[in-house]
């Protein structure tokens, strides 16, 4: 299988034109395999994490905590879902035609691309100034804990890992992957707008050399197919029972005090002011 489709430019140079669309299937299969392996692993082999003893300090903290712990602000949630919608539109308009579903996709695709770009720009500004910017990026502690978890999973002695901060490591890694793939599609997609008729620019397909354009198309395509696997994994985790509370939090904005204490380390995710931003008196279950 060729990873890249090559063509001969008008000047006889061998230039890439885009990725091989077989990579779409490779990505989808890789995503599916991951889900299956993970599901089997969790279902059959993974040992339930030993319940750490409740220490008095934690109990005291719990007493001060509200019933609902604010996790995602309205702005953050709005961004997530707008971005998700744009992403789905982008993926469907990109790949359905590649698998034989014929429709006029181009205009929808670039409009969705612009929605995605605007939402990401908003997110970057919002996260930089209004959110705890560093909470989503993996740090050295995450790596230490990951190493400990791995050793314990393999039955080797290791000190118990700490609980997570606001975001579990896999969440952070997912965000990192989305960060890079998203940057790639947005950056290349922005310039690709010069190649198609839009109200924004005078069309100029000769903005870059044939080779530079080729690399851009390859990056765009590569990031696109990577998204297929990433989003499969993302949805999988979102619907896994043990993660459902996080998914709900992306809708309603909060998690329960119990989940907070169960999964998160208050030192790594200290609550500001100690009061939730959302949730008045309704029980979490009732909100669903």
């Amino acid at each position: 299988m060729n990873f890249i489709q090559w063509a001969t430019s008008p000047w006889g140079e061998r230039v890439p034109i885009h990725i091989s669309w077989d990579l779409l299937w490779a990505s989808a299969i890789a995503g599916a395999l991951f889900l299956i392996v993970h599901a089997i692993y969790v279902g059959y082999w993974a040992k339930p994490a030993a319940e750490p003893p409740q220490d008095s300090k934690q109990a005291a903290a719990a007493a001060r905590l509200p019933e609902r712990v604010a996790r995602h602000s309205f702005g953050a949630r709005a961004f997530h879902w707008v971005m998700a919608a744009a992403m789905f539109v982008l993926l469907f308009t990109a790949f359905l035609p590649k698998v034989g579903v014929r429709f006029s996709w181009l205009t929808i695709h670039w409009i969705a691309g612009i929605v995605l770009t605007v939402s990401v720009v908003y997110h970057i500004i919002h996260a930089s100034f209004w959110l705890d910017f560093w909470s989503i990026w993996p740090n050295s502690q995450d790596l230490t804990d990951a190493s400990r978890r791995l050793q314990r999973a393999l039955g080797k002695p290791a000190p118990p890992p700490r609980k997570f901060g606001k975001y579990p490591l896999e969440n952070k890694l997912f965000h990192l992957a989305v960060f890079f793939a998203g940057l790639a599609v947005i950056f290349t997609g922005f310039f690709m707008l010069y190649r198609v008729p839009t109200p924004f620019f005078t069309r100029n397909p000769y903005l870059f050399s044939d080779m530079t354009w080729g690399v851009m198309y390859v990056l765009h395509g590569l990031a696109g197919v990577v998204f297929v696997a990433l989003i499969m994994a993302h949805i999988y985790f979102a619907v896994r029972p043990e993660k459902l509370f996080l998914t709900k939090s992306m809708i309603f904005g909060w998690i329960s005090r119990e989940k907070y204490l169960e999964h998160h380390d208050p030192e790594r995710w200290p609550l500001e002011g100690g009061a939730p931003q959302t949730g008045q008196s309704k029980a979490p279950e009732a909100a669903i």
Partner: protein
């Protein structure tokens, strides 16, 4: 890998005697098969070493694909019937002279002796960038050279372009649409019959194909219903040279009248988009109207709504407008004032 545009690369040649055998071969080789009818389009691709099929399925030995037959009140024309046969056939000339005229306008006598009706309607775009083997959208690439700021697009599309601005070059296609012809297509799943206008597709739907045929499909026949037999026809092709040239724009129409009133009309133009364009808005606007200069003028204006000319093809807008006017009038030139 250097480029050379000469000498046909080797391929395996099959000359099946039946449609079933042809279908089997197409199925066996899938995307690596090439359907060869008259060869006018195919051999140019081959000799330029741009299209390199593994297997070529030559339809010339399939008797059932060729010939003009009466079909109820209408006609069924086999896909590999030559353009010359179409032009000369008595029933075509008597009842559907529009098609005879369109077929006779194609290419040159030698090419019409060899070229087929199925091939003429199914031929590929002639955009000189695409035919040069450049990696444009239509060739699976990521650019349109003709629609670049410096692109040379005198012969390109003014309608329905999306990324690719190539046009459909067929002369018979608009005539078949005007006659409400049906295209008989054999697919691996069986036979299907589609309206002529739905046979053609633009770049928005599929940028690499001109029609609905997918690998493994075969256009077997074209059926012309009795509906428009003997109607008032108009065909005109404007081209640079008087023979052996593609249309800059052509127009084909069929009309029924009652006295000096237009009852019904079907009208299509080609050379303006990647597919022949049926002008339904014009058809609706002229139905029931008197056949005069005023109606023609209105029709011409409606026809060019939504046109988007490129740098060098702005002339196609007045050309299309005027050809539509002429189709309404039924004669070339303005009626004497």
């Amino acid at each position: 890998m250097s480029v050379i545009h000469d000498v046909i690369p080797a391929f395996e040649l099959f000359q099946p005697a039946t449609i079933d055998d042809a279908m089997m071969l197409l199925d066996r080789y899938g995307e690596k098969a090439w359907v060869l009818a008259g060869g006018l389009d195919s051999l140019e691709w081959f000799a330029d070493r741009i299209k390199r099929p593994k297997a070529v399925v030559d339809l010339s030995q399939i008797k059932e694909l060729s010939g003009v037959r009466s079909d109820g009140g209408g006609l069924e024309i086999g896909a590999t019937t030559t353009l010359t046969e179409v032009v000369r056939h008595r029933l075509v000339r008597e009842k559907y002279s529009l098609l005879a005229e369109a077929a006779e306008a194609a290419a040159s006598p030698q090419i019409r002796n060899q070229g087929t009706l199925g091939g003429n309607v199914s031929q590929d775009a002639r955009c000189w960038y695409y035919r040069a083997g450049w990696p444009c959208y239509r060739a699976g690439g990521n650019i349109c050279y003709a629609d670049a700021p410096t692109g040379l697009n005198r012969e390109h599309a003014i309608l329905d372009a999306e990324r690719c601005v190539a046009v459909n070059p067929s002369d018979t296609a608009p005539a078949l649409i005007a006659l409400d012809a049906k295209m008989v297509v054999r697919t691996p799943g069986g036979e299907k019959v589609v309206d002529a206008e739905d046979y053609f597709i633009g770049p928005a739907l599929d940028i690499t194909r001109m029609n609905i045929l997918r690998p493994g499909d075969l256009l077997t026949a074209i059926r012309i219903p009795a509906t428009w037999a003997g109607a008032k026809f108009y065909f005109e092709k404007v081209r640079d040279r008087n023979v052996w040239d593609f249309a800059l724009v052509n127009v084909a129409s069929a009309m029924t009248t009652s006295g000096s009133t237009i009852e019904q009309m079907r009208l299509a133009v080609n050379g303006v988009a990647a597919h022949p364009v049926r002008l339904k808005a014009v058809e609706a606007a002229v139905a029931g109207k008197p056949r005069n200069e005023e109606t023609a003028a209105v029709a011409g204006q409606i026809a060019i709504q939504g046109t988007k000319p490129l740098q060098y093809n702005g002339y196609k807008v007045p050309l299309m407008r005027n050809l539509v006017k002429r189709a309404i009038r039924g004669v070339a030139g303005e009626e004497a004032a």
